[in-house]
């Protein structure tokens, strides 16, 4: 594996009496698919919130490509190449899927160019390609509001991909999706990520998904990283099995 893309050191955060992170050290390596697992409420989403600047850690630093990004604004961090997909899809519900994508494309380029109509931006073919890659191109002209949950989730990820990120953080990419579709969606996703050369971190509950799609797994428990390793190593650990997976 290549170098370190994102590096968290000594991250601490607590909400009232709950300790979500108590000295977290975690590196994300270039090109990998890192899964974060752990019991509910352990602070996994908090890690994504801190990495993207939505929350400010009480101690510790986050470095991305050697640059300290701790407590920067989400939009600044996004500009540096970290995109995020959400557990609950965050779309512009009153606009079409294509318009959603083009807003993302226009955002990436910084200054949205003058009075040229959004629908005539030169990015249209590229956005069509991305939607096609993720398998939702047939919805391009539909309002985001009209999409079923699973498709919304894919559009949510496409919005992140349209930013051409180096790193994509995904919060439970298959939650809210019918279990029959989970595998298909993850197949589509990992193919798309590999094709776009995007490193990814995903928070996941479903161990099948982790086993199949992660190169590396970090176990988050009571505010600490309990174990990091390949899926086989981690899932074989009896302590992890007992405390996290619950068997």
């Amino acid at each position: 594996m290549a170098g370190v893309l994102l590096s968290a050191k000594g991250i601490k955060i607590r909400f009232g009496g709950v300790v979500a992170a108590d000295g977290i050290d975690l590196d994300v390596l270039e090109g990998e698919n890192l899964a974060i697992i752990g019991p509910n409420g352990a602070g996994k989403t908090t890690f994504l919130n801190i990495s993207t600047g939505y929350l400010r850690p009480q101690a510790g630093t986050i470095n991305f490509l050697g640059q300290n990004i701790t407590a920067q604004l989400p939009r600044t961090i996004t500009k540096l190449g970290i995109a995020r997909a959400f557990q609950i899809p965050q779309l512009f519900l009153d606009q079409t899927v294509m318009e959603n994508m083009l807003i993302s494309a226009a955002s990436r380029q910084g200054r949205p160019s003058g009075f040229q109509a959004l629908s005539r931006l030169p990015d249209v073919p590229e956005m069509e390609r991305l939607l096609d890659l993720v398998g939702v191109s047939s919805y391009a002209q539909r309002k985001a509001r009209e999409l079923p949950e699973g498709q919304r989730k894919l559009v949510d990820i496409s919005l992140a991909l349209a930013l051409k990120p180096r790193l994509l953080l995904m919060d439970e990419p298959t939650s809210g999706v019918a279990s029959s579709e989970k595998l298909e969606i993850m197949d589509i996703l990992t193919t798309a990520l590999a094709k776009e050369k995007v490193t990814s971190v995903f928070v996941e509950h479903d161990m099948d998904m982790v086993e199949r799609y992660a190169n590396r797994v970090a176990v988050w428990n009571v505010g600490k990283i309990q174990k990091v390793g390949t899926p086989a190593e981690v899932l074989a650990d009896p302590k992890v099995r007992e405390q996290v997976i619950g068997i």
């Binding site: 919130n49 939505y54 959400f86 609950i88 965050q90």
Partner: protein, 299 residues
Amino acid sequence: MNSTLAILAVLDGISYAALVFLVSVGLSLIFGVLRVVNVAHGSLYAFGAYLAATLSLRVAPVSPWLTYPALLLASIVIGAVCGGVIERFLLRPLYGRDDVLQLLITFAAFMIMDNLQRMIWGVQPIFAADPLKLLPNVTVFGVTYTSYQVILLPAVALATLFGLRYFLRRTLSGAVILAVTEDREAATAIGIDARRVYFVTFIIGASLAALGGALASPTTSLVPGMGADMIVLSFAVAATAGLGQIEGTALTALLIGLTRAFVIYLHPEFEVLVPYLLMVLVLLVRPLGLFGAVQVRKI
């Protein structure tokens, strides 16, 4: 500014604050529970004042003491009838719809009431000072003032403040209102009729506006436009305090009342400016108001 003027300003400020508090706390209560800014609130104030003056003028020849029950009656009638109609027929169909529409429909109510007010009571100033003249004057540090303004009005305001506190924190109906305010779905799930709570709250809030108007009627001449002025003023007080904050509204009313009174003696031309300038400054520093609390959105 000499000490006599200063005492005069303090007394002015207190009596003014008492009236403004009554109206503002009604607005704040309604917002706290229904999440609606009632633009017609100023009209309820004006209607309370006009009806109180009409009734006072009617009963004063019989016995001037009857004017006090007249003031009270006017505020209850206006609060129950006008407030009830606005909530039941205008707001209720809109719960769960766009906030803008709820705000705007109370704006429509304001337009209608403003027009009705001119049709019913005309545009000539009306003055009914019997209740004011009936009570003796008092002397405070050498300054003579009407006891209606420096004793009765603050007393009613304090009684309202403590009454509301008691009602909300110590009675079952109050607990029900608070429950609906905090979590409507959960409250409905345990069998609370939210619509009834909204209805009752709106009537209480509306009655407080009307009471403010009724009590103000002996102290000032009633003119068209008094409602429009009062809604923004009470809104400024409620927003500066933090919408839904009852004790905060009282303190803010006092703050604005006193500042305004001193400004009147020092720079009368800035009188109207005071509450709005204060509101801008406070909201810029503390958008949730002086006494408001923050909530963070989960993603």
